[in-house]
Assembly symmetry: C2
Homo-oligomer: 707 residues x 2
Amino acid sequence: MYRIVLFFLLISQISVFAQTKQMSLEDAIMGRYTYLNPGSLRGLAWQDDANYTQIKSDSLVAINAKSGDEKCLLTTEELGGIIGASLRYFPACQWLEDGSLLVQTSGAYYIINAAEKKLVYSIELPKEAQNAVFSEQGKWVAFTQGDDLFVALKDGSVKQITGDGGNGIVNGQTVHRNEFGITNGIFISPKGNFIAFYRKDESMVKDYPLVDFMAREAEYTPVKYPMAGMASHHVTLGVYNIETGKTTFLKTGEPFDHFLTNVAWSPDEKNVYMAELNREQNHMQMNCYDAASGEKVKTLFEETADTYVEPLFPIQFSKVNPAEFYYLSRQDGWFHVYKYNTEGKLVQQITKGEWEVTSIIGFDPKEKFLFVEGTQDSPVENHIYKIEVKSGKSTKLSSGEGMHSAMLSPAASYVIDNWNGVEVPRKIALLSTDGKTQRTLFEAENPLADYNMGETKLVTLKTADGKYDLFGRLILPPNFDSSKKYPVVVYVYGGPHSQMVDKSWQYQTRWWQYYMASQGYIAFTMDNRGTNNRGRAFETAVHRQLGIPETEDQMQGVEYLKSLPYVDAERIGVHGWSYGGFMTLNLMTRHPEVFKVGVAGGPVVDWSMYEVMYGERYMDMPQENPEGYEESNMVNHVKDLQGKLMLIHGVQDQTVVMQHSMKFLRECVKQNKPVDFFAYPIHPHNVRGKDRVHLMEKVSQYFFDYL
Amino acid sequence: MYRIVLFFLLISQISVFAQTKQMSLEDAIMGRYTYLNPGSLRGLAWQDDANYTQIKSDSLVAINAKSGDEKCLLTTEELGGIIGASLRYFPACQWLEDGSLLVQTSGAYYIINAAEKKLVYSIELPKEAQNAVFSEQGKWVAFTQGDDLFVALKDGSVKQITGDGGNGIVNGQTVHRNEFGITNGIFISPKGNFIAFYRKDESMVKDYPLVDFMAREAEYTPVKYPMAGMASHHVTLGVYNIETGKTTFLKTGEPFDHFLTNVAWSPDEKNVYMAELNREQNHMQMNCYDAASGEKVKTLFEETADTYVEPLFPIQFSKVNPAEFYYLSRQDGWFHVYKYNTEGKLVQQITKGEWEVTSIIGFDPKEKFLFVEGTQDSPVENHIYKIEVKSGKSTKLSSGEGMHSAMLSPAASYVIDNWNGVEVPRKIALLSTDGKTQRTLFEAENPLADYNMGETKLVTLKTADGKYDLFGRLILPPNFDSSKKYPVVVYVYGGPHSQMVDKSWQYQTRWWQYYMASQGYIAFTMDNRGTNNRGRAFETAVHRQLGIPETEDQMQGVEYLKSLPYVDAERIGVHGWSYGGFMTLNLMTRHPEVFKVGVAGGPVVDWSMYEVMYGERYMDMPQENPEGYEESNMVNHVKDLQGKLMLIHGVQDQTVVMQHSMKFLRECVKQNKPVDFFAYPIHPHNVRGKDRVHLMEKVSQYFFDYL
């Protein structure tokens, strides 16, 4: 009897739960990348051109690409034995060129012969080591400690490379606030004999006063923050010779506040190449230096623009002809691959057309074929293409609408394609680059299968002048009834280098939007001019006038929304963070007749308080573009504020500093304009981790209360 | 025809406006001390024992106290001629002992013979001069500039007295954060030969990081802020000899973090007297120093307490017997006047009983009678009493329930009584001290006569143990209907040295409470244990346990409110600032079942983040009273928060620093408790001026939205 009852209970539960779960904020925020994240394969890597490896049940397993045959290479226990550590799981690892396996734990690099299950050698790092980079050829690890650069050798010794770190001098770390594609400050030479590194002198940069309120008594913890138009730091590039222990600085000259970007070594280690950009960011020189003497050898070529030049990718030398290299440039208005020789002569433009190469994946050994990711099929998709170098002829390797990401085998026989699409949470496929084989390695289940969710659709609109498509995403509430009127919350970002709507899983929806939909709101998001993957003209339309074209475009979205019979045009709200906070302020003040409620998080209020590299690229200096700065300064628009507006800011924000919100609030108080505010005391530019639930509850509640 | 229409319009306007105006926030905030402030008389002062002066129609007029006869002494134009300046109105002035008139403008002191309409002499000060003090006998002005002390002589020369100011050394300014009755740092000797001054060394005190967000790039603008239990500043007292130009420091000795309070000179200028208090504040010594050598002459007497001793009034020497002085002390539990001799022997306790002398007004020339203000008639009134010194017999001079403030004529023949009462906006009366004459000099009209206001009443309750009366003020909405249910907003302060409810005009109502009443809320305020004018036991009940007895008492008020048939017990809110912010947090977290909505402004959250002098007096050091600090730390009560709570803080707050709100908010975020917050970017501890309208709109709106 008991069993039967239980059985019926189970049945009824299942029928109740199928597509009836409501998405909670906890699900939307914490679940998205944890318990509701689509499954995947762990530790995929190419061992050689015929085999890839994967971590399966805590063992490193090699799989033959052709046959699919599996072979266990190393168990976690075996690996623990080799490196002399008790491991709870198989750590991240990487295959080196010589076929050995690099395993990295906190504090040490282990080079392992997997076939023999033996340690070849190891390199230990001090506990305080950061930014570590391993040289396979040199058999050393370069790293920073504090503001200085060191190198740890396999004999256990550590050599200090710089000694002037501190008091505004920083060695071996990223510079220029990670703009221009810069992510690190150590550049190892191909044969392991040199370490090139950034040296940043920011002693002339003004301190921005941050305060740690969690101390016994609040502590002053300033950071260097160069605001647009103010003194910027000086960066140089040192080259350290491992053998001699000597450092030579490249003679990059004046003016010192230029940008040294995209550092690359020549294969013979004799030269260092950099894309050097003037502070105005409208003139780039691709320069070659003599690594030994630091002398400038030549300027290979230059790129200029009325707006700005933004070098994002270092040159890549040909392995077939060391006098040639490939460069990914937007010089014709779209990111395409070019081949130059070391004289600076353009040999060939390989890819062409009104689409963008988003990444160079690699080449076949003879460099007859180039493999790239790009938008050739659609600006809201990313596919894998095989390009015949000679003809530029393109063959799409990936299939299935969506966003594809490639991992090429060493000799380019195969690609592992890890992708997702609107209704595809994740698929991993093995493709042979000759187009003959395709095998599915993994297909994730839909973690939201049980949730009751409304329709999500892609909307294609036009800019007001009809020149460009605009792509938007409309999310309807669950149990949508087209005869009713629904309020809308627009989620906006809108800044350069972003694309919020594409054909990735669920059109890249932020799940908070699903949460809002579950609460009866229509959720809408659209990419405006200035955003990514649409070519230079689309992006640079916002130059010197941030906020204006973006707002015009967003209003096209609003017009569309208002045209929908089920939209309550009296109840439209907007939320965004950072650039999206700026956009929220723009929309609230430039269209007070439309937006009833807004929540602006970490908003840029005045570009003259934003930093040099990003701010001046898009706005020029305040002294060069006073009208532009005035017009884009949201303080000057407070007078037009009508709706309910809340600003939210992380007290530790070092990106968009708190000063932005403070100046906006001050103006609201001065003009006796109602405004709301919240501050997250220990959070930087973004509120992450579990506190994000608090944040999004606060944002949501504001719409519940007032929209 | 036109005239007739106008006439009717006026009539109808009058009839519409009589008691029908609603109090706006603008009225309540900006009007209270400007266009709705009860009228008064300007520049009242005793010229001699028979005549007082007043500024009337821009002339200084002398009025005979007995006859009321008036005589113009000086017009504004005449005064302008005398001092060589173009004056728009008659400036503040003061009668000196020798009968001359002191007129002070920005930058200069003018000593004038009013009868002859001539300048006797003048003293000019530098523009940067601050804290200026004039010596009639010495004919000089002592002042500070930056952190140093100077004296300007009538020959036009300026002498610098100290030169070590800056870098944490401050000379001639108030110390100990204005606690212990301290308001200034310059103490001139009776004959004008010496200047005693505070020297504060706060170099060992931690910087509290304030930030000026209104700068081009935010600026770090730290202040010295010694938190409870941390290093406190060191104060010494220098004595500068005008003739020799030499400074002697009193040998006040160790430990250096004691408190030097209530500085007084002996009439012969040989000695300086101070009430010196140990850092624990439970042991006061009345010490006498030799001004010439700096040596300590003797300790006259001592006061100790289990809780704290808080000297507030400097000794006042007898003019009849220079070996005797008067001292206002709470040593028997109530503030009373004592006579001591300079040997330290208690000569006589002059006033006695369970009431408090709030001020010594003065004596008759023979010192047979003492004139005081005090609470002998009622703890919620302040009257003027003539006390026979010999017998202690008290005669009340003032009449009319309310708060009286006295100005005694030089030979004590008359008192000018400037007072107000519950229904008396202001009255100014002339009283002869023999009780024979009383004349009304001024009676203010009620500036709120046209306003439609509900009833305001005094409520007398009891503490839970029945030991003490508690006085509250209940304000009913206009057009009150006792058959309806009204929400209540409690306004609370509750800290030491405050009394929010008394028999001053309108029971001292904050007009914001009238505004809330006009919006349909009952407004309530009550003074709890710990507040002023109720004797030591009532005040010190909160010692080492701030928040607990106060909350118990406030809950007596809440019980009373709940007993009223027209109170909606489900809709009770609370608002307070500073100590009242602390109380708001106490009430919201200790009684979440009662308070639905709270707004805590500039709240103390954790007494260990409050400053040494006030914090340690009431709480001892954190290391001495860890349980007390734990229990009174509102961060530890966040877990019990249920209602809607908003914190508001001035970003420039140097009294209750922003760290308090930040730590509370952080804990709310950590525990995922909804909480709201607002920050006033340029405001210190209080939001004053026209921005206060924005503040109180925000506070009010929070109750409108959620209560």
